[in-house]
Structures are given as C-alpha cells and as structure tokens.
Amino acid sequence: MYVAVKGGERAIDNAHAWLAEERRGDPSVAELSVAQIREQLALAVNRVMAEGSLYDPDLAALAIKQARGDLIEAIFLIRAYRTTLPRLGASEPVDTGAMACDRRISATFKDAPGGQVLGPTFDYTHRLLDFMLAAGAEIAEAPQAEPRTAPMPRITDFLDRDGLIQPEAPSDEVPPDLTRAPLDFPANRALRLQSLARGDEGFVLGMAYSTQRGYGRNHPFVGELRVGCVAVEMEIPELGFAVEIGEVVLTECETVNQFAGSKTEPPQFTRGYGLAFGHSERKAISMALVDRALRWEELGEDDMGAPAQDAEFVLSHADNIQASGFLEHIKLPHYVDFQSELELVRRIRAEAAEAGTREAAE
C-alpha cells in the first residue's frame, strides 16, 4: 500500500541538528569566539551592520558565526532581531564634518585643510597571498604620529562657498522610514538613500558600475571619502537638550559630478551621497554614484532609460533579504501548481496531436 510521505517535523529537527554540527566543523580545530570575529573579520561585521541596519558589532559578529559566514544570512538574522526592538526615539543628525577621521581622501584636490589621510587601506597593497599570515607570524607595530587636532572640513564645502556646486538646502522635514511605512513611489531622496544604505552591496555596486560604463553616465569624482567615529546625540525630553549617547564608525562619500547646466541653471557641479555603518568604502562610493544617477529628474537631466536612473527598479530590487527570500522560496514545494501546468500542457499537446492527425487525414 502506498503511504504518503510524512515526518516533516522530525526531518526539520534533524536537519537543524546536522546544521549545528556542520557549523562547528571539525571539533579538533579551536572554536571561533564572537570576539575573534568582531576583531578580526571587522569588514564582514561592518557589512552586516550596514545592510542589517543595526549598529552593534557584537550582535553582527554573533550573526556571522551563527550563519557560518554567509553574510546575507547574517544580515537576515540581524534584520529579524532588529524588527523586535522598541523605538525609544530618534537621534539628532550626526555631524560627519566633526568626524574623528581614520581615513580621509579627496580625488579632486591634491591637498586641502586637514590633509589627505590614507588610514588603514587595502588600496596600495599588492594582492599577494601572505603565507606568513598562515604561519601565524607576529605583526610589526604600526608607527604612531601625534594625534591630529586640526579640523577637517568637508571638501564640498569649499566648492559650495564659491557657488560651484549645487547647494543642498537644509531641511527639518522628518525623513520617511521604509521599515515603518510601505514603499511608495515617487520616492524622495531621503527614502532612496535609506533604501540604498540598506541595499545589497553587490547590487548597489553593479548599478553604480553600470553608470560608469555608460548606462546613465554622470562623470563622478570622489570629492571626499572619510571614515571615522562620530558622536550620536539625542535630545532627552526630560532634560530639554541633547546629550551624547554613543559613538558610531561611519564611512561617508561625497561625489562631485559634472553638470553641463540647463536652460535654467548655469553650469555647476552636482553631488552624490553615500553613507554606511563601519568602514565600508565600496558600499559608500557605490551608493553615491547610484544616488546621483537617481537624481536626474530633480536636476533637469534627460531620462536615458538606464536601469540606475529608474528609482522603482533600483529600490524594488536592492534589498538582499527580500531578494534572497523570494529567490530561494522556489525550493519550497510547488507541486500543486506544477500539477495544474502539467495537465494543461498534456491537454494542449493532445489537442494539437489530434488536430495534426485530422489534417493528415484530410
């Protein structure tokens, strides 16, 4: 007698037990601690914080451990945790101009107040596998300089002063929040930036790259890229003034883009903006390029029909948790749907075969 497949529940429990074993790997190899991941895989931690939209290096490191190093899975864990957190309030806007920079470079000026500071970058390393690292060699201590005390004003402020760059009007408008309201189009710039900040690094990178290759080209220069610590302040209603509640490390990128001018505007430079938690340069620069591409309408440019200019396309597909969930759901059983298609195809084929025989007979 035929017995339908049962036991989904036990299969799931066993799969989870096996997964836990695989996560641990060979037990004769020392187990990774969350602190080791936080300290030694910091760029993975940064990506999980940025796309998980939650600044907590310890939780991000835990998520990476739990996800066996699958960063999108780790981002998913952080997002699912984040939604359960109560919202106590909103911070004041952070002042990235007052950032304690570890790194600050400009591609548009050879030198500027505050100077060029390379910081801890891969940029000029030769990508040669370092076998000494595998051997566990001691690392030499990095030379130390006197702490910088001079302020490091934003590069674009200099251009702004001369009217050479399109100004950004300050606004007290409360920015929309796509985690609390359904995404709606047209999306204003604040909403687009929120979506890009949470968006998949690979997707945003690909979109940015497509603009460089001519699909909505906007001639970007990295006006400034800065990485460092900023204070987070929050106004406490009982106190009536803002107090510092913590610090976050941010990467900020402002691009300076060519603009030929239009009938109404004299030629001036325009801006793209990227901001990400942690040291996440690729993400911040990509974000700035895509932000700039999405601004075509407000800057009176032509719609080239490029994917990166299409806010509905970019915003609807940037989120890797939405994308991977929907993509992977096709692993779930679909046999009811498949069955109905199967019958349809069989019926249409039978009808076609019948019609063929009839024609031949005629």
Binding site: M1, A4, G8, L327, V336, S340, E341
Partner: protein
C-alpha cells in the same frame, strides 16, 4: 520562562498587530483592493509566507484553533515550520482537521471541505498584483486598477486562446471581485477558484510586496473568461487512489523507476477523513 513567554502573543508587538488589523478592515471594506501595509521583517524568509504569518498573527486570539497547510497538506515542511512558529509564540491549539480550525493559513490550496461562517482562511501571496507580468511597474498597475483599465488582461487571455486554443493559465487564475477589482487568488490551481465564493472570511497577505487584500464572506468572485470560452475548473481525470474521491484536486506521484504514477488527494485531511469513513480507493487497501 517558556518560549511562549519570551515573545508577545503571536510574536508581533501590539502596535504592529493594530496596524495590520486596520489594514485588514480596509481590505475587507474594499474587496479585492490591494492595501499597502508596513510589512515587518519576520524571522522566516520573504517568499516563505511572511505575509500570511503576519495576517494570522494579527487575527489570532488565544481561543483559536489553527490549521496550517501547504499544497493542501498539513505535513509539508513549511506548513510544519509555520505551525510550530505559532505553537511557540502564541501557544494556540493547532489542528489538522479543517472543520475544527477557526483560522486556516494556506499556501496554494483551498481545503476541499466547505468552510463555514466563523472561519478565517489566510492565504500566503507571493505576487499580489494580477497585472504584474503584463506591466512590471507598480506605479502603472495601481493606475490601471484605479481606472478599472483591465483591457490588457483580456488581451492576454485572448492571445492565449489564439495561440493554444484555450486560456493557458492553470494556477493563480485571475478573478474579478464584486464586479470591480481584478484580483490574484494567489497561486491556487484554477480548480479551487469557484470555492472562493464562500461563507468564511478570506484574507490575503503578501509580506515582501507589502500588500494585504481580502474577500468578505459571500463575495462575488468571478474567474475571467469569454462567453465562447467559459472558465473551466480542471483537475487530473482520475479518482484518488487512496480514498476513491472523484471530485478532489489530485497530486501526481511517481511511484517507480518505470514512470509509474498514481493520483492522490492533495488535501491530506480530506483524504484521511474519507478513509476513516470507510472509503477505499484502488490502492488504499490494507
């Protein structure tokens, strides 16, 4: 502390549930209209029923009895997983009996047994927009619904007939609700479409797409067709091999290396109930 106590009842916080309930009321007031809602990130992936889970979480009360099915079956892995989720976070009673459930969450099927007043059927919806594959832009499709501009859909159905001799949509077959909105019934086989005119409340949740829509009891739900090509609810032309049912939707199962097949009810509770009542199909004997 038990796991149930670590979470708010049915996982979501009360504010979120209230937001979803308001959306549900609006959806019930405008049958077939897709109401945007601020879908939350759930601890299961998008595409795996997050919309249905949020709707279920918002309508569950401690006195409810919950049934979860996927492909008509209570024991498919994702149905098991979602049922477990609510056992853990809401501590509600669960059942596999269609008649005993007050809330039924489903993916891709409507139970064979008619549902009654007082029952709620919650559908998991992947793509709520019936016009999506004709027009990818949400900004456009919302306009089309507002203007009742459904010509594109009729052209698509007509082209099917011209090409294949019949409408080549076997599941997620579009319906028109109360003569107004064209609605996606979720990917149920078109065999199930006529059941949608029912006594129970039907709620549809699309988490990733942030939409909820609904059918109040006894709403008029018409599958789109043409006078000379009327809608037909089709199924495999066999009786169930286990319980002998002639009128239930069937799964096709490959049983041997030579491509041997058998057909069994996709609704496992319906099939088990019939067998318990003494009905025996060709291969259902002991």
């Amino acid at each position: 502390m038990t796991e149930t106590e670590q979470y708010n009842f049915a996982y979501l916080d009360e504010q979120t549930k209230r937001m979803i309930r308001r959306t549900l009321l609006k959806a019930l007031a405008i049958p077939g209209y897709q109401v945007p809602f601020a879908s939350r990130e759930m601890p299961m992936p998008y595409g795996w029923g997050t919309g249905g889970v949020q709707v279920t979480a918002a309508v569950l009360t401690p006195a409810d009895s919950l049934k979860v099915i996927d492909q008509g079956a209570d024991d498919t892995t994702n149905a098991v997983s979602i049922r477990k989720f609510f056992e853990k976070t809401a501590g509600v009673a669960t059942t596999t009996r269609t008649g005993e459930a007050s809330v039924i969450q489903t993916r891709h099927r409507i139970p064979e047994a008619p549902l009654g007043e007082g029952q709620i059927l919650v559908y998991q919806v992947p793509i709520p927009e019936p016009l999506r594959f004709l027009e990818p832009r949400e900004t456009e499709t919302r306009k089309m619904h507002a203007l009742e501009e459904y010509g594109l859909m009729h052209v698509k159905l007509y082209e099917d007939i011209a090409r294949h001799g019949e409408i080549a949509t076997a599941y997620a077959y579009p319906v028109r609700v109360e003569g107004r909105y064209v609605m996606d019934p979720s990917p149920i086989p078109k065999f199930d479409n006529p059941k949608m005119e029912m006594a129970a409340i039907q709620l549809f949740g699309a988490g990733r797409e942030q939409r909820i829509y609904a059918l109040p009891p006894y709403s008029r739900v018409v599958s789109l067709d043409f006078e000379d090509h009327p809608f037909e609810a089709t199924k495999a032309d066999h009786p169930c091999a286990l319980c002998g049912a002639e009128g239930s939707y069937l799964d096709e199962v490959i049983v041997d290396d030579a491509g041997g097949r058998m057909f069994v009810c996709s609704d496992t509770d319906f099939c088990a109930g019939r067998r318990a009542a003494g009905h025996v199909g060709k291969e259902g004997g002991a």
